[in-house]
Symmetry: C2
Subunit: 219 residues, 2 copies
């Protein structure tokens, strides 16, 4: 197909397609004339993945290129390709060097203990490690350990979720679709989990305080 049809079938503008070609996110079509190239279904699928990574995953063009390179290189084990893709979607909690390191050291220990207790095989290079440490340290600095006490509860809930999620994307059977699913699922899943947590909190607050609310209001 020509670029016009590629645009129609993928829903991506011709200008964007040309930009992705220049940036190396989309392989060139087969040259059929001085100013013409032919594209195939592989291009439609790749465009869909590029848009999912950029629009939904919020990845930069450079990060998208790295993820695609890992997907396309059969020498890169799938576990590693998934790890690289996941790292691009992990917001980093700003480290505050001025803050006392005691809180951070305590948080490091709490997280290492948790990981050991649960038998999780995780690399210290996973950027999520630093994020978890910073959050736990922030809670300690606020003089509050409620959240730290909920670490085990949170970890158990997330392990149950992750087990089903990873199995679902690996079941897709195709490297590209597995990595695409992991990036999109990780990003959208964050928002969906956060939203469902708030709805569940409202329900539980209603259960726990609903009866008391009326009484309060009449005081």
């Amino acid at each position: 197909m020509r670029v016009g049809e590629l645009s129609r079938r993928s829903g991506v503008s011709v200008a964007s397609i040309k930009y992705y070609l220049r940036e190396g996110l989309l392989p060139s079509g087969e040259r059929t004339g001085p100013n013409q190239a032919a594209y195939d279904d592989g291009h439609v699928r790749r465009l869909r993945m590029v848009r999912a990574l950029i629009d939904v995953g919020g990845l930069s063009v450079a990060a998208t290129r790295d993820v695609l390179a890992a997907v396309d290189d059969p020498q890169v084990p799938l576990h590693e390709a998934l790890g690289r893709a996941q790292a691009t979607t992990t917001p980093r909690h700003a480290e505050n060097a001025e803050d006392d390191d005691e809180a951070r050291a305590g948080a490091e220990r709490a997280l290492a203990d948790l990981v050991a207790r649960r038998g999780w095989e995780v690399s210290p290079q996973n950027p999520a490690w630093g994020t978890a440490v910073e959050v736990l340290a922030t809670y300690t600095r606020l003089g509050d350990d409620d959240l730290a006490g909920q670490l085990e509860l949170y970890a158990g809930a997330m392990e149950g979720v992750a087990r089903r999620e990873v199995a679902a994307v690996v079941d897709r059977g195709d490297r590209a679709r597995t990595v695409e699913g992991a990036v999109v699922g990780t990003v959208l899943g964050d928002s969906l989990l956060a939203a469902l947590r708030r709805l569940a909190q409202e329900h539980c607050s209603h259960e726990l305080l609903g009866g008391r609310a009326g009484a309060d209001a009449q005081d």
Copy 2:
């Protein structure tokens, strides 16, 4: 105590304290001279809460003022004060009016069914409702229903988490500390859950693909 000691004890600069006084986030001290006021432990606690809401919760000064007003007004039932506080920490998913409404209508139905099945008492005014609908609609638009299929799994995990979280903040027994804990816990909890989910995903990917990774690399 004078403003200098209030600053030392709270760790908040005198300039910030004066700003919070002007903005009505901190009640005035007791006037003891033409340019002097005396502050007490209540001011220290209120400053701690203001900093938690602004620095950790990411609330604007206006949102902080609304939350404090709900905390301070005993006529506002605690359940409602918690709801107002929570609403300030809910990121809104941008609605895209151009996108087909069929995906959104389907997402609305899926969420309404979920809430009915689980017997959740939630108000359609909860901004998390719109966020959840937008995420589900986005997944449908990508032509993918894996995430929608995991809705029940996510909801169950979040209900378990929320039940313990709400009980923990209500157990604090003090309106101000309950609302402060809800705001801080909701915001920090989002980051901690997202980080633990990624660590758990790495572990599950290792479990599921670890053996295959070596074989892949030798292909």
